[in-house]
Amino acid sequence: MAIAGLVVTAIVAFILVVLFISWFSNPPFGWGNAPAQPIDFPHTVHAGSVEEGGHAIQCEFCHRNVTSGAAATVPAVEVCVICHKQVNGSNVTTDAVAPETLINIQRVLDKHAEERPIDWERVHRMPDHVRFVHEAHIRFLTQGEERTVTLPVGDEKPMNLPVTVPEACSVCHGDVANMEVVQPQDGQSLKMGTCLDCHRENNVSTDCTICHK
């Protein structure tokens, strides 16, 4: 009897551990850290506010497809080179800029010269059976008549819509402009409940085929 009890306990413990890990692991809460990128890209410098030393570039300037298609898309190297053709360190003294920064910029220019894309590592991964169209969500937040909604994300404060595109992005992605490295666990979890809460709140259909494909 004692052995049988031990076996049952072991099996139950094993199942609990598996459930625990699968519940808390990557998509929902993201125990994993951000993957190593081929180039250390600081969102703070590019999208951060001018007062804090950033350049306040709008999200949709680089993630160009976000207002027109399903995927936000990572920019092509040409988009980087629009600015970095000029901002390449040739007209600054190395005292003012850290040498790593110049190395990173040089990597971008090298890739452009080679006509090769940069092999960015994916940070947020949506499962294959989910359809998420960025365009429709950005459109909901940035267009239409003036209204106040309470979105069940973040600190759940009432929001006055419409907002600008970067504000719309930060509803789910968090304050990316002030993140040196974008971690998977920053911003909204990718759990289905989050999607459903928001759809219910705003009278959007919750039919399975709306999101699942």
Binding site: P127, R131, E135, A136, S205, D207, C208, I210, H212
Partner: protein
């Protein structure tokens, strides 16, 4: 998005008089919906994946013989026998008259396959496989179903969803019924049919060309085929599954001698 104000009820009419059995619908479906390439083995084991198939029947004896073709796809029944048997609610009927299969909810019991009288539900017995050069042509709007789950025709719901979002974006406001109809949303098989044997439409739209056939068949249910004004009938009508697909029977101009 489907809303109560402007409901949809999607349906299809298949005119067997126009069907030549060319299999264009089968190929279009295969390309649109990421269906694995069937090998000879798959067919020999009767495990081939085809969301729409052409059933071929021979009539008469050689040399006095004719081939008959019938495209069979998921009938999207109103009384679907597959739906109540699913233990995990992976298949259900949605507000638009579609019989939906939620792949990530399916656990692969195959009850629905056994309960489907039309044999249009497919089980993934193997991991899906494509030749390497075909993997880049997979449709990103459709998930690649993994091994061990059931799949079936969706009436290309991904096209409907994409169309809805595009129409919404163009108007800058919510979708209204004047915009998305059977006229601007067609499944891949309907789009590919060279003889227009397959016609798709919205039964809530009074102007759709398929509406009279459904009205006629609904007015004479069961074995009332001879009272009908059109050639319409449903597959296995006596089972009262009430499919959303209506077939128009073939009128043979030159019947077989001695045949029926």
């Amino acid at each position: 998005m489907p809303n109560a104000e402007f409901p949809h009820k999607w349906g299809m009419v298949i005119d067997l008089d126009k069907c030549t059995g060319c299999q264009a619908c089968v190929i279009a479906c295969q390309a649109e919906n990421n269906i694995p390439i069937n090998t000879k083995d798959y067919f020999l084991q009767r495990r081939a994946y085809e969301w729409i198939r052409i059933e071929r029947y021979w009539e008469g004896e050689y040399p006095n013989i004719k081939a008959r073709f019938m495209p069979v796809l998921c009938q999207h029944c109103e009384n679907a026998p597959c739906e109540p048997v699913c233990p995990v609610f992976a298949t259900y009927h949605n507000e638009e008259g579609l019989n939906v299969q939620v792949y990530n909810r399916c656990v692969g019991t195959r009850y629905c396959i056994n309960n489907c009288p039309y044999q249009v539900r497919m089980f993934n017995y193997w991991h899906p496989n494509w030749p390497a050069r075909l993997e880049n042509q997979l449709n990103p709007d459709v998930t690649v179903r993994t091994r061990g789950i059931t799949e079936k025709c969706t009436f290309c719901v991904q096209r409907l969803r994409r169309g809805e979002i595009e129409v919404e974006a163009r108007g800058g406001q919510r979708l209204s019924d004047e915009r998305i109809t059977g006229g601007n949303y067609d499944p891949a098989c309907v789009q590919a049919c060279p003889t227009n044997a397959l016609v798709f439409g919205d039964l809530e739209d009074q102007d759709t060309s398929i509406k009279p056939y459904f009205d006629d068949v609904n007015a004479h249910p069961g074995h009332g085929e001879h009272d009908r004004e059109t050639r319409g009938y449903r597959l296995l009508e006596e089972m009262n599954t009430r499919p959303s697909v209506i077939y128009l029977k073939k009128i043979d101009q030159y019947p077989l001698k001695g045949g029926h």
